[in-house]
Symmetry: C2
Subunit: 293 residues, 2 copies
């Protein structure tokens, strides 16, 4: 299969639906909606919502049933980036090659735009068209848990508190698994739940999601060391400058690359019970460790 074409097609579908679901850019209050659109339509890869659709496809689901949830997950991801970039947190000026939300709109609007995207996520998720109500509720609950204080936000807190300190390897793994891994896993599980996945399918996709999520974060760490700023759209070497714990800092770039590749193989292996409907997930696992940004 042609992954590039698949990603392009799904991106188009996701972006169109996001435009439909979100309040318009010029809706009152305009500063707020402009900021939300600025960050949401900044050329992100849409990896998480694509995973939602791909997991839904793998279990033979109907794409329409998972589309609103996919959009919701992208909103959660975007809010987390806006808040991560704030001066009180990572204090980043650039994101995807453009000024961060608070640089462009000021800190107050950035905080509120993040809040509004998180809130909008749950509105679109709860109002999901098509899917069975009990599946929607289960998916909304999973998304909230994954994004919450013992999931993504928990990872963000430990990441912040570890900055500039000597970090033990288990702490680094906690950060990676929670800050990035939980939302990636939820993206996959929500897509499967909305496709009425059977128990064993959900278990296999959970194994896929855990491996793929960690592979993604290790690849991200490697890109921060090796990638060029022009490719990644943000200054590289930022992790080291901030004293952030990373995989390469512990085991070196080569060993990190090897570990990411192993995890991608494990993810693909978890899909062995699935037919060709899971090919997009297989290709995405390969892409996660091969990408240049």
């Amino acid at each position: 299969m042609d992954l590039e074409r698949y990603l392009l097609e799904k991106n188009g579908i996701i972006n169109k639906r996001l435009e439909e679901l979100l309040a318009k850019k010029d809706e009152y209050p305009q500063s707020l909606h402009a900021a939300m659109h600025y960050s949401l339509f900044a050329g992100g890869k849409r990896l998480r919502p694509v995973l939602t659709l791909a997991a839904n496809e793998a279990v033979g689901g109907n794409m329409e049933d998972a589309l609103d949830m996919a959009c919701a997950i992208e909103c959660v991801h975007t809010y987390s980036l806006i808040h991560d970039d704030l001066p009180a947190l990572d204090d980043d000026d650039l994101r995807r090659g453009r000024p961060t939300c608070h640089k462009a709109f000021g800190e107050a609007i950035a905080i509120l735009a993040g809040d509004a995207l998180l809130t909008a996520a749950f509105e679109m998720a709860a109002n999901s068209r098509g899917a069975r109500k009990d599946a929607v509720l289960k998916a909304v609950g999973e998304l909230a848990r994954a994004a919450g204080s013992t999931g993504m936000i928990g990872g963000q807190v430990i990441d912040l508190e570890s900055e500039g300190k000597e970090t033990a390897f288990p702490v680094l793994e906690y950060i990676h698994i929670h800050k990035t891994g939980e939302l990636i896993l939820a993206s996959i599980r929500c897509g499967a739940v909305l496709g009425n996945a059977k128990e064993d399918e959900l278990a296999a996709l959970t194994r896929y999601g855990r491996s793929a999520g960690l592979a993604f974060q290790i690849a991200d760490d490697i890109l921060d060391v090796k990638g060029s700023s022009a490719e990644t759209g943000k200054p590289t070497g930022g992790d080291k400058k901030k004293g952030k714990a990373t995989y390469p800092a512990f085991v070196g770039v080569a060993e990190s690359g090897k570990r990411a590749k192993e995890l991608a193989d494990m993810a693909i292996d978890a899909l062995k019970g699935f037919d060709k409907n899971a090919d997009p997930l297989r290709e995405i696992a390969r892409y996660i460790v091969a990408r240049k940004k």
Copy 2:
């Protein structure tokens, strides 16, 4: 009926359930959970969740069906206070007689504790016990809309952007209706929806909620002018100092008091089709304009 006793009893039930639903104070990451508990258990009046339970009671619902949603709404309210108090927004040092969350835990943790409470709200709402799944989904969608960019957050944005400027009266009403009114209205509607309210009951409670919500905010404005800091737990006169538009600034304290009283009467009038199960709502409308904090 004895409102004080009613509020005390419901407060006990809500606080107990919040403790059950929320991650424990000493759960990892501890700084985050300590900050969430600090702000959530700060002696708030629990007006919004009590309204949820009272509206549920008015339509003859089962309290257990609305309790988790009531807790969720209190989490949304608390998150909004934490973020409102941040230096980039209202920059307040005191809340309910104690240092604000960012004063006690630092700005980064305060931002993330707010995010986590908002996220936890949707987790507890989606996982609501007992109630019919379609009612839960409808309520979750309503809560998200009310708290979002065209609801509460929209009001907060216009409030910020109006500070220190000459504000037209319709803008003040927009701020009041959105910043405070929307969540109060949602508290009532969600309780009714989870009690399987009939269409005409929901319409009447919506009229009640709009009037009560605006009455509440006008009473808040009056308290900021007239109340003592010891009673309200925050410095009074803050609105004027910040150049915030308020009802008393437009029409004076006496006329504002009259308007609040009229709105409370309108709220009570909207309940004329209800029996004594709506007495708590009637008493709360009176309390809203008579309270000292």
